[in-house]
């Protein structure tokens, strides 16, 4: 009983405390860069698409709101033919970003996605792809991967030896 009264007293005095909330949208709170908002697809430092269409984001997604299809260019570089996020279903959990092996898919501090039409919450690749590297600068998956793509032949990646000459006789 006493503690209830003490609680009432303490809560009453909160009437004179500073307000925690802000009158949004006139006044906005600064969001940290790792805030989990709208999903984007980023590019590597060379300006190429980072996404290699490995499907891991789709597999990690607990609400199954990511669908994509892999395809390859003439030089063996894999990329998504389409990449679709249904933000009507997205719960912004960030699992896709965590699953992404190439830093391609990232969540941004933009959280103002409300719309009157559910259909316009379906984002395709052209809506998702941005022109920069997002939060992670300098990383390029194909520089550390073993496959040859346009602009990087076998053995030209980071930490790679030149291709073995099978016909060579040197020990």
């Amino acid at each position: 009983m006493l503690s209830a009264l003490r609680t009432l007293w303490a809560v009453f005095w909160h009437a004179f405390a500073r307000r925690i909330t802000v009158p949004y949208p006139e006044q906005k709170r600064p969001l940290p860069p790792r805030f989990r908002g709208r999903i984007v697809l980023t590019r590597d430092p060379d300006g190429e698409e980072r996404c290699v269409a490995c499907y891991l984001c789709a597999a990690a997604c607990p609400v199954d709101c990511i669908a994509l299809q892999a395809t390859e260019d003439a030089h063996g570089r894999r990329y998504p033919a389409f990449f679709r996020v249904n933000f009507g279903r997205c719960i912004f959990c960030g699992f896709c970003e965590e699953a992404c092996p190439t830093y391609a898919i990232q969540l941004t501090p933009d959280c103002e996605l409300a719309d009157y039409r559910r259909q316009s919450l379906v984002y395709e690749k052209e809506h998702l792809l941005i022109s920069g590297p997002g939060k992670y600068h300098g990383y390029s998956f194909y520089r550390v991967a073993g496959v040859a793509v346009g602009g990087k032949d076998k053995g030209e990646g980071d930490n790679e030896l030149p291709p073995v000459n099978v016909r060579g006789l040197m020990p």
């Binding site: 209830a4 609680t7 009432l8 303490a10 809560v11 009453f12 909160h14 009437a15 405390a17 500073r18 307000r19 925690i20 909330t21 009158p23």
Partner: protein, 330 residues
């Protein structure tokens, strides 16, 4: 209309007019107050929780009430196909009617009372007992497991707390010597009953919270476990009636507390009606503060508090009050 006009012509129109004004004033006043409370409560809760509350619609968000009313009226009035339709429709009306009827016996100021019954207090107790039907029938007729559980809880809770709500007031009645609420106010000329009847006051306030199903006694609703308890299946204005009924109930209990324990309209300088309304407002604030601060009880805690603490306490209060009155020998 003509028959009504003829009836009005027969009675003394001049004598009836003030009566009619009082009836309408109390009716409209109570409903407006309840409507306004929905807004005031949200702002006050925000105030005590370091938030801002609804401030978007109109100046200071005052038109929020209007917006909510429009919303409630225009929402689909859905009766679930599995519900018992007549009962489902009638249930929300019962709570509104029974609480508004109780207002009839409350003296707002000298002479301003709708029905100056000599058993006013008993009338109030009777009416508040009727309210439990609304909850129980509403929950039962919805034919939904959450609503049924909410209704069962409400029945148990309200029947239990009804008992010592009545008992807690017996001290007041004994001291005033009347069930007439006007007489009770009159009896507090020298000292408000909140001082001699402090135990009764505490018990009555707690029972009042439980009767209106407010936090910390909102087990019949318990949105954390029962979705929305007895009114889970209600929508539109039927839900609105339950909603309004709750706030009318808050206002009623507050007003009654003022009448019974805080001297009603009595007070210096200001006109009596202002004193009455001011005191009531402070008590309503207290109700809201309780909601802002206290967590919900568990059902077994609720029952133990009622039967093992409050009931003996109120019995003791009656006994002691009676003994003191006897000892003093009038």
């Amino acid at each position: 209309m003509t028959r009504l006009g003829a009836m009005l012509a027969k009675v003394n129109a001049a004598a009836l007019l003030p009566e009619l004004l009082i009836v309408l004033g109390v009716l409209i006043g109570a409903l407006t107050l309840a409507g306004g409370l929905t807004f005031v409560e949200r702002r006050l809760l925000a105030l005590w929780q370091d938030r801002r509350g609804p401030n978007r619609v109109g100046p200071f968000g005052l038109l929020q009430v209007v917006a909510d009313t429009i919303k409630l009226f225009t929402k689909e009035d859905w009766v679930p196909p599995f519900a018992d339709k007549p009962v489902f429709v009638v249930a929300p009306a019962i709570i509104i009617v029974s609480t508004l009827m109780s207002f009839a016996v409350i003296p707002l100021a000298p002479g301003i009372v709708v029905a100056d019954l000599n058993v006013g207090l008993l009338f109030f107790l009777g009416m508040s007992s009727l309210a439990v039907y609304s909850i129980t029938l509403g929950g039962w007729s919805a034919n939904s497991k959450y609503a049924l559980l909410g209704a069962l809880r409400a029945a148990g809770q309200m029947v239990s707390y009804e008992v010592f709500m009545g008992l807690s007031l017996m001290g007041v009645v004994a001291m005033a010597g009347s069930f007439n609420l006007g007489a009770i106010v009159q009896a507090q000329r020298h000292v408000w009953f909140c001082i001699p009847q402090c135990v009764g006051l505490v018990v009555f306030l707690i029972a009042g919270l439980a009767e209106t199903r407010r936090i910390p006694f909102d087990l019949p609703e318990a949105e954390g476990e029962l979705v929305a308890g007895f009114h889970t299946e209600y929508s539109g204005m039927k839900f609105g009636m339950f909603f309004l009924g709750e706030y009318v109930g808050v206002a009623l209990i507050s007003a009654l507390t003022v009448v019974l324990f805080f001297g009603g309209w009595s007070g210096p300088i200001l006109p009596p009606i202002a004193w009455f309304l001011g005191k009531t407002a402070v008590l309503i604030g207290l109700f809201i503060l309780v909601r802002a601060a206290l967590p919900r009880l568990r059902y077994d805690q609720l029952m133990r508090l009622g039967w093992k603490v409050l009931l003996p306490l109120s019995l003791a209060n009656v006994a002691v009050t009676g003994a003191v009155i006897l000892a003093l020998g009038r």
